[in-house]
Symmetry: C2
Subunit: 338 residues, 2 copies
């Protein structure tokens, strides 16, 4: 009888332990399940959520930072991303790429529009299919994109003017080499001119030339400009090829250090000239930010997070990703393989 | 001997079960611990991270949506928020409030600046103390704020012009009641005027009056305007008190339905007049978005997340939170207690 009593007591303890064990396993499982589901109040997606970045001229360095931002946001939000680009500067190819992307019903699309109007139909098709879509770098303002993230070019010109004034101690003759047919270059030039006119009375813009976005043409117009205005102290180039052309002219005429150049963007040729002190400063666009915040916006649209208290448009209309001034001091950090 | 053998076997099973149980409890605990730590690649803070929103005239409804956005972002990011406001329209009180907030070393501050210049010193003090700070709704452009999130007032005027054209089928005489001493009202008026002039040749702005931000004054100037221009078809009021004053004038002169009013903001008086059809449309600012994205930006600064690939300025410079058009159809959603 005594052995049987002990046996019963042990069996009883045994059953309790099994019970507790089952409860713990169950709790552990349910804890795990809730971690894997997207919770309403958590910024965490799933790996099968696929967001696509679409650009034009897919080979060029310019997009690498934007894609890095897109990827960094994907890591933070636990979602997947993909990159697609038209290989040529061909708007029909970009339309085809977009149509292929839409057919796969991704969780969202960030597009840089090669043409401000030509992509409207295909963008609106994405919106009508319920696919979140934002534009970055180059907008399609008449389309139904939910937001646009890019550089405020007028303000970039303002920034260039202040930097030029700093380099020239607020006095001297300046020239501009620009690409007057493109809207972004017109705006950069306007911001530069208006700021000099309004805030720096001792600075004087003596010549504005069309460099046609071409290195050789830009070099030639500056050769001539230096001939005409021997007291020239600075040149603002609103675009990268022009900036390198201006740099070549200055080098050839042995005016390095005498004439300050401010250029635009951060391709290798420009960075090298900044590093060598030929170009005094170049303006880097916030491409990483364009990619990072594009994905954040798409994620918020996909999860209905941006519509909480707002009726109608659920995201900020426009984001100026801003400008960073690159000089000899910080140029190293802008090389792509850093 | 047989009883003892069974006893030993049971004890053995007993020990194994206890062992497994201990392992499970340990795993469960460690799983929980890792969930509470902030991981580099996860948008998740800690509850002891405290972000503060600072406004002026703390009582008014206008800030409620901004605070709701701030709170919603805090929930998504697992951090704490606090609201502090100067009770009066008194810039010195706001400086004092900001100084008290800075002394507590919060994780970040979102400030709406009562005055565009007076807060520069105290804002820069926060930046120098390593506290992330952004401005929303009203900027301090010469200060060191990392970003500004607010309405593009010029574009709000553009939006109002297009809506007016829609209401008037693109033709008719229009008046404006504004508050010409304040920059935001100047910009709204400019956007409105330039859009009408450029895009709607059959619409004509016949009178621009100063309503002084006051209901009674605005009513009086419109009484007079209607007397002078009997064919008046629309009035744009660039600010809420003015809009209600215009509404009272229209009601008194029994012109409801004949003259369309477009007003600004969503205080109760304005919403009631939209609901009754006296005001045809009012422009709601994206205040929820201002609060939500302010906290996102502060969180990214606090965790060094925005500096990944960028040198220099680590956040977008400016965000236009946009405008939503409120009409009789969607007005219900804009009452605060909805």
């Amino acid at each position: 009888m005594k052995g049987v009593t002990i046996l019963r007591k042990l069996l009883f303890v045994y059953l309790i332990l099994i019970g507790v064990f089952v409860v713990y396993v169950y709790q552990y499982q349910s804890e795990n399940t809730s971690n894997n589901q997207w919770s309403e109040h958590e910024l965490r997606g799933t790996i099968d959520e696929n967001y696509v970045m679409v650009t034009f001229q897919s080979g060029i360095d310019y997009w690498k930072r934007a894609l890095k931002g897109f990827e960094d946001a994907a890591e933070a939000l636990n979602v997947s991303v993909e990159y697609r680009g038209a290989t040529q500067y061909d708007v029909n190819e970009q339309i085809t790429v977009l149509e292929q992307v839409i057919a796969k019903k991704p969780a969202g699309i960030a597009v840089s529009a090669m043409d401000p109007d030509a992509l409207n139909d295909v963008i609106n098709k994405a919106v009508e299919a319920g696919i979140p879509i934002v534009a970055f770098d180059s907008n399609a303002p008449e389309s139904k994109v939910f937001s646009f993230l890019g550089t405020d070019n007028y303000y970039a010109g303002v920034t260039a003017a202040h930097k030029m004034a700093e380099l020239l101690n607020g006095a001297g003759e300046i020239g501009i080499v620009t690409h007057p047919k493109q809207l972004n270059h017109k705006e950069r030039t306007k911001g530069f001119r208006e700021t000099i006119a309004k805030e720096y009375p001792k600075m004087n813009i003596v010549s504005i030339q069309d460099g046609r976005g071409d290195q050789m043409t830009s070099k030639e117009v500056v050769d001539e400009m230096i001939g005409k205005f021997p007291n020239l102290k600075g040149v603002f180039a609103s675009e990268a090829n022009g900036g390198v052309g201006v740099g070549q002219s200055i080098l050839e005429q042995q005016k390095k250090g005498e004439i300050h150049i401010i250029s635009f963007d951060t391709d290798k040729g420009t960075l090298d000239m900044v590093d060598e002190g030929v170009i005094s400063a170049t303006l880097a666009q916030g491409t990483w930010k364009m990619g990072y915040w594009s994905l954040q916006y798409l994620f918020h649209l996909q999860h209905g997070l941006a519509e909480n208290m707002e009726v109608g448009r659920s995201l900020p209309r426009y984001v100026d990703t801003g400008i960073t001034i690159v000089t000899q001091e910080n140029v190293e950090a802008f090389y792509p393989n850093e």
